[in-house]
Symmetry: C2
Subunit: 327 residues, 2 copies
């Protein structure tokens, strides 16, 4: 039985897993990325992680998929621009360097497109023809599946659903634009509003949970504070959910997917977020007939990225040169 290894290259952690063709994880391991060491050090640590997993599994993987947080040159297997890794990742031949170190073919893909692939191959997407995936984390990433195929566009950048413009004169985004969905509904945007509320003394529960420390304000502590009665915190989450619902509407009028999946850390907020997204879509979909469309939390949860990287290892050969789609 062939084994495949998936690596999720994150700004903070390297997360890797070795699994079979059905996505059953045999061994799994996380290490700090230590990105300040730059590409050679990070790649060396990724290779070591793969070797350790192969040792645990008792078998070498036949292929490796890597989810990378940023833009890639898919045809060349190089990184183009990784906004969340501080050192220089421009034109690093990750595919070639890593393949030489681990001794098997390596496939690269944007991290959230990778998570979308995970959801497509091993999650809710197995039942979907057309699917949109929103990953709500530090930013908002995404992925689009049409006819059961992950759509990458000519340079692998299709599916950047967090950079839809929702407020033309809204907050400045990391991408240089204004009012992107990411500026309004990402975990960072939600936490920033939580910090503002905390500092202005409007959130007794959140203050208690976070010990008064703005550094402890995040979607997890905020979700708890909302559940325990902080109405202002609940409002902040609802507002983000409404913007996210608008982002979903915009994808629905364009493509009418049968399935919208919301993943990433903020999906753990749970019902308060999902109920708001669903209600907003119902209210704002206008005369558009979309009763049949489901909006679901990721079936794979935190493992969407790593199982997507495994799926990428399995199906990476099918990446076309123009990279219009995968699978």
């Amino acid at each position: 039985m062939d084994l495949y290894v998936g690596v999720d290259l994150g700004g903070t952690n390297l997360h890797a897993a070795i699994a079979d063709a059905d996505g059953r994880i045999v061994a799994e391991r996380t290490e700090p990325t230590l990105s300040h060491e730059g590409p050679p050090g990070v790649l060396m640590r990724m290779a070591r992680l793969v070797h350790q997993l192969a040792e645990t599994a008792g078998r070498r993987p036949v292929a490796c998929g890597v989810g990378v947080p940023g833009f890639l040159n898919l045809a060349a297997g190089t990184t183009k621009f990784l906004p969340n890794l501080p050192t220089n990742w421009i034109d690093v031949p990750v595919r070639e360097m890593l393949a030489a170190q681990i001794g098997c073919p390596v496939f690269l893909l944007n991290d959230v497109r990778t998570a979308t692939l995970g959801e497509l191959v091993f999650g809710h997407g197995r039942q979907a023809n057309t699917m949109a995936f929103f990953s709500i984390g530090t930013g908002i990433g995404g992925g689009i599946v049409v006819d059961g195929k992950l759509r990458l566009g000519p340079v692998g950048a299709a599916g950047e659903l967090g950079h839809q413009i929702i407020l033309p004169d809204g907050p400045r985004c990391g991408c240089g634009n204004r009012g992107c969905l990411e500026t309004l509904a990402s975990a960072s945007a939600i936490a920033a509003e939580g910090v503002r509320l905390l500092l202005s003394g409007q959130t007794p529960k959140l203050y208690e949970i976070a010990g008064g420390d703005p550094g402890q304000v995040n979607t997890k502590t905020m979700a708890q504070a909302a559940r325990e009665g902080d109405s202002r915190v609940a409002e902040a989450i609802v507002r983000a959910g409404q913007y996210l619902g608008i982002g979903v509407v915009n994808v629905v009028v364009t493509l009418h997917p049968d399935l919208v999946v919301v993943g990433g850390g903020a999906a753990a907020i749970g019902d308060l977020l999902f109920d708001t997204v669903r209600t907003t879509v119902q209210q704002r979909i206008g005369m558009f007939p979309a009763d049949d469309m489901r909006i679901e939390p990721s079936l794979l949860g935190e493992r969407a990225g790593i199982l997507g990287a495994v799926a990428l290892a399995i199906r990476g050969e099918q990446l076309t040169v123009r990279c219009c789609h995968l699978l």
Copy 2:
């Protein structure tokens, strides 16, 4: 040589053409829709139009395509809801009734999806893999092509690009929602702002061209006034173009088409509109790499709808039952 007939059912006019498989029009004719007469009268007049064209061409068509302004039950060949035709078009079996009257198979499709099909089969779309079509008229309709296939979604409603939400608290839309692109950049929205400017005395040229009559204010008279020096009118067009550019950005981040086509009556505004759309997309696309994407006026212009209806007649057999896509 087989001939095909295409009919564009408009709120004001019925426009029909008979053409060969290459889209060469043999005969063409327009008649008032007289929609107040209701479905039987309108269908009778459509059938007469087809008979007249067949007589002119000296041959009966082998199939008929009809572009319909609204939502359809594609599987049943019935109308569901036509917002711009005043009488009751709910559940009218247009496909069956018209086929019986003209003696050949009939295929129905939303009018702007039909125009998209025209552009795909006979226009700029011949060179495109993934294309978005925006039709700027009374409303804003659209269509999406992925992998050379017109995407319809499960109920034929994918591609409603005018109902993207661009301003969450914006003007009320005919669809029931607020701040849809259509409320900000349709020919009606542009004309409404022209009327406001005219009535507030800010547009000497437009006043002259329209003879002071608000009823004469439209995108055509406004484009002329802008060219002749009415800076406020030019600003109104630029503002609509900026919103349209934002609508284009939102489709680009989602799908990264290689081609965006803008058609419909307002496309005749020309450079002032297109330059604004292109500039806005360049400014607002953020770090997204989209240098290769073209934004073009429809190659078929006013005939996109009617040639799309001809294309529908030619390829209608390929409409799948679930109607996920065409061709």
